[in-house]
Symmetry: C2
Subunit: 683 residues, 2 copies
């Protein structure tokens, strides 16, 4: 009875539709529901196999292991940074693709780790014990997490990563243990113009014609890693209505936010983010128009900015949708009523919703200084980012693990160090642009008269200060390594201008971060956690947790949708690609494709859509058929899927996938990569 | 009794404060209230004198006539376009100022008209008779307006402009007759760095140190115009608490919008406008960073974009302010209740509020095509704008006056023609940037698959199409004149690529404009008018109409304010300017100022603030003392004044003014302009 009551409540609370909704953890997958709807049995063996063949990219992407020799399938846009960092003015792999003739020519991806989830352990009780009655909740929680992570990976952190994952907004804490590969090499990348054909205009749209795939290979001890538990590569077309599964790492969703939190996003954070992205987008567009070299070095950042803009714009539209907000109000009223009806639960929850309203009232005074002095400081300047890592890291690592900023705990230090030591190009022209942008916006948002502006800019203009900071030598990995290894003493003696700048301003950045955590994050996390525990007590694990860049499985079917009365078919084919090409960017095609036009099968499905519930971070995810074979790589959602941050609307939310069939066809007929085809298919 | 009841209702409806609120028409100024509060008698003579000495700039600025020889005081930012158009790569008057040694060196301001209001006549009955029962309300209204304007200026439209001004959102229509001067020459402009010291960071801020003034002279028959009714130039400092008056042309306010309309602005129009402005701002910033010449040619547009961004951002913050929205809800409920209580009024008003809610629901589907294909088409490209004027104007002028698009009625044709015939530079690099921006955003907002994108772009990219359009010869005024005079036949035979582009796309632009007028503007205007008539019936002219770029008078006092608990003083002085200067843009000073530092009086008030209720369009307005003498030129509002679009909050809303005392001091001691000083002061 109780169970049924809970289920009914969820149906009410999560309207309009439960169909295919959910990014489920592998230890709580709703196999019974899937069996009932699709007739497919997802048993423990199936789940274990798929978990073993799924991998997470450090930077926030997903992938499949697709050969016994460590070959990994992901999206082109997930390896784009690696492609760009290996390019030079004379060898532009973004434009021309990267197609090594043999394995020995594969190239290191600086800073990239690939991680395969091996184990999930519940540590909720340990965290709750450590935070019970703590005055500083965030500190107590982070200290407990740091200790658990350190213990779990002790003596094996060269090959493993231990990470506590917060689920149900603090309703559960689980220790995820990953097998980690840090020698990751680029194995294949097509030309950007086929991977991202249609560019920004087509991004998040469908019908679509993108061969958005790239391949890397995992290495161990300088040799291709052995990966016998890889997934099987299918070359069959997907079928309409076929049940499909997506295994990947959705980055973050906000489906459990309260109405007050959603309104704060809608009114404060989201408009400011869109404005910020739009202006730097304009700067980078014009910068790119200046010369082919500027276009090359800015492309990666511009792509990220445009992608982020379009995604946030879609989310913003959902936040403005009265139907979405109404459904949230209904769900919130339902949960509040249930909590009120239970005296014990009511006492434990207190006025958590009211506390979140108070947080949102406090937000406007703290948000901007926090963003411009701390969260967005440096605005993607590599030199600034190196300097901050060095200044903060050397100071933090001298403290006990539990006292550190969370990004410098023992379990994170290997990643920080890898990022500092790996060589990668720094582009001074681009550095100048982003530094000037950051400093100008800092002054604009904080005003010229603020203490923050006076400290960071002094009597300089953004341009003159940026010029001085660009004399930094931190582009050289040897210089970074020496400072890192020399520790605090070496850093304090350094006369590098960027190091000195960070040394002079870091106390102010840390102070505003502390204020933000005390006034915003801390109270919000504590109130969210109370609501999460209440929700957990009422609904249990019949619902799924918000996405947290950890492994999830979603189910669905191959299916088009109805866009304002017009049906959108589920599939596209190669001939449609050539019809859409105008010869002008971004609807131009690489020469190889124009020559191969007549050789390509007209029947192979190129891209397709499914009802799976995914979100950013799922890029590159294996899309699997009922047998668990890879039939494609998810690379996008439709425009309507962007609202997926806040709710799932199964009538229009669609995942966009490139087929392994099309990739195989292209590898054979466009690229002549028989070596790779053989490795993937055995043929 | 009835009168008192109405006054009480307004006090309730327009909370929080009536103090100093209002942009009053000269024929309905609340002299009694001013007398009661400030002890100053504003009689008909005072009003007539000030009206005669106040002038409107065609482009949307205000000014004072300050000498018997047609000398006009306005802001530097009101003559900036003229300064820029007269500059060349070798004579940069924006940077160095424009300081002719004698009158004969004054330079024509292309496209500028200056207009002095001479007469106001009520034409409400004529318009109401013409629109009563009309099926197409906008068409009927515009035809009646065109006829009235044509009649009124018949035979004298070389020297007069007749314009029907809509007041109280259609509650009143008045015919304004202006004496018009079309030969307007630049007489003096200081260096931009003193006019706009502190640049965008200080814009809308206070304390402030801007000598934001410029001077033009009106000419008639090639000689300086005689203006015996000029205002008197004061060189006295303003005093704290002194009553002051601002006479100028506030452009537009939205204080009578309904809650539904305000929410539409907040959720749809405003975020999209901020995003659009931010991106082109970024483009222009980077374009300007490319070379000094690019900086020079883009400066005017960038200034406008930044100014507009900051203004809209401030307005957006007010739209998000729960207190503002609550006051609007209260006012709306009050009016609705009063309408409901009166059967006749209720029948006449119908469900006008509900109709506006329906308009807002329809807006999302129409707004973007309307904006990108019609309202923002060309995005400030001069070539596009010329082509559209020629193509549309030659077609429209063949129709009866009442059937034309409103910008081509007989009363408007002289302005259209002046804009086409006046020579001014066209900058191809900048043209390319704005055309590419427009076409890219058109495609992005309408999607690549839309009919609009296919028609405007065809198989071109924004870049390739812009390159083709730039072959246009319309930069040459002789070419424009020939086409204009050749009429429709010449236009249709033209092979100018921009003309051909507009010919090919204009039907689609006109169609979406028609749709927008039928679905949005028409129903909204009709419903607004019903509410306006109801409001008028209830409250009468005890309240003031929304701003409409027509002459208004506001009253107030010299007074600082309290910013988040910190008092902001009302005055700044020259020494503060030198303290604030860092030597780095935008806090750098012109060399002349650095040399003159010790000569300048430390006691002369530089800038000051007042409680007057003004808005954009008031730039350059005479600020007058009780005697009606000019003591300054309004050039800005504080950040808090931006919410003035929607309400007036007297506790923080402030007008920012540069004193005539400081201008006189600078003309003497920085610029050695004894000739001008003598003309202004007689000494």
């Amino acid at each position: 009875m109780k169970r049924l009551a809970a289920a009914a409540a969820i149906a009410l609370a999560c309207s309009p539709a439960l169909a295919d909704e959910g990014m489920w953890t592998f230890d709580n997958f709703p196999s019974a529901a899937v069996k009932a709807k699709y007739g497919v049995s997802i048993d423990q063996k199936w789940l274990a196999k798929v978990q073993d063949g799924s991998a997470r990219f450090g930077g926030g992407c997903s992938s499949s292991i697709v050969s016994p020799d460590g070959l990994v399938l992901t999206n082109h846009h997930c390896v784009r940074t690696c492609v760009q960092l290996n390019s030079t003015a004379s060898a532009n792999y973004i434009k021309d693709g990267f197609m090594p003739a043999k394995r020995e020519d594969e190239k290191l991806c600086p800073g990239v780790s690939v991680e395969i989830l091996k184990d999930i352990t519940d540590v909720t009780a340990r965290i709750n014990a450590a935070t019970a009655g703590a005055k500083d909740y965030i500190k107590a929680r982070d200290a407990a997490i740091a200790a658990i992570e350190k213990d779990a990976c002790k003596g094996r952190d060269d090959k493993y990563r231990c990470q506590v994952t917060t689920l149900y907004q603090g309703g559960q804490f689980k220790l995820y243990t990953y097998r980690k590969y840090t020698d990751v090499r680029l194995a294949f990348a097509p030309e950007e113009q086929i991977a991202f054909f249609g560019g920004d205009p087509d991004n998040f749209n469908f019908p679509r014609y993108n061969l958005d795939f790239g391949m890397v290979r995992l290495y161990e001890d300088g040799k291709p890693a052995k990966t016998p538990n890889h997934l099987k590569w299918s070359t069959e077309n997907p079928k309409l209505g076929e049940p499909v599964f997506v295994s990947g790492n959705p980055g973050s969703t906000s489906r459990l936010l309260t109405v007050a939190e959603l309104e704060g996003l809608r009114d404060i954070s989201m408009p400011d983010t869109l404005i910020m992205l739009s202006e730097i987008r304009g700067v980078l567009e014009q910068f790119s128009a200046e010369s082919p070299e500027h276009e090359r070095i800015a492309k990666n950042l511009l792509f990220g900015v445009e992608n982020s803009f379009k995604g946030n714009y879609g989310r913003f539209q959902t936040l403005l949708d009265p139907a979405m907000m109404a459904s949230k109000r209904t769900a919130e009223a339902d949960l509040k009523a249930k909590v009120k009806a239970d005296a014990k639960l009511s006492a434990a929850t207190g006025d958590a919703w009211g506390e979140l309203e108070a947080v949102e009232r406090a937000r406007p005074t703290v948000e901007k200084p926090y963003i411009w002095l701390e969260a967005r400081a440096g605005f993607r300047s590599d030199l600034f980012s190196y300097a901050r890592s060095i200044v903060r890291g050397t100071a933090e690592r001298d403290k006990p693990n539990s006292e550190r900023l969370r990004e410098f705990t023992d379990s994170r230090l290997p990643i920080v160090q890898k990022n500092l030591f790996d060589a990668r190009p720094v582009y001074p022209d681009l550095e100048k642009v982003v530094l000037v942008y950051w400093l100008t916006k800092l002054r604009e948002n904080l005003t010229a008269d603020s203490e923050g502006t006076k400290l960071f800019l002094g009597k300089e203009s953004p341009e003159s200060l940026a010029d001085k900071l660009l004399a930094s030598k931190l582009a050289d990995p040897a210089v970074r390594k020496a400072l890192w290894q020399g520790g605090k003493a070496a850093v304090e003696k350094s006369d590098d201008p960027m190091i000195r700048f960070v040394l002079a301003t870091d106390a102010a950045s840390r102070a505003i971060r502390k204020t933000y955590e005390d006034k915003i994050d801390g109270p919000a996390d504590r109130a969210d956690e109370k609501i999460a525990k209440a929700r957990f007590a009422v609904y249990g694990t019949a619902t799924y947790p918000d996405a947290t860049l950890s492994l999830r499985l979603s189910y669905g079917a191959v299916e088009g949708w109805n866009e304002k009365g017009k049906p959108v078919p589920a599939f596209t084919y190669f001939p449609g690609l050539f019809d859409r090409a105008t010869g002008k960017f971004p609807f131009d095609l690489p020469a190889r494709w124009l020559s191969a036009k007549d050789k390509l099968s007209t029947k192979t499905v190129f891209d397709f859509v499914t009802t799976n519930d995914i979100i950013g971070g799922n890029s590159g995810s294996p899309v699997l058929n009922a047998k668990g074979d890879v039939i494609g790589a998810a690379f996008d959602g439709n425009i309507e899927s962007l609202g997926g941050d806040y709710w799932y609307d199964g009538s229009v939310n669609r995942t966009v996938v490139v087929t392994t069939a099309a990739i195989t066809e292209a590898l054979k007929k466009v690229y002549g990569q028989d070596r790779l085809v053989k490795e993937l298919t055995g043929k």
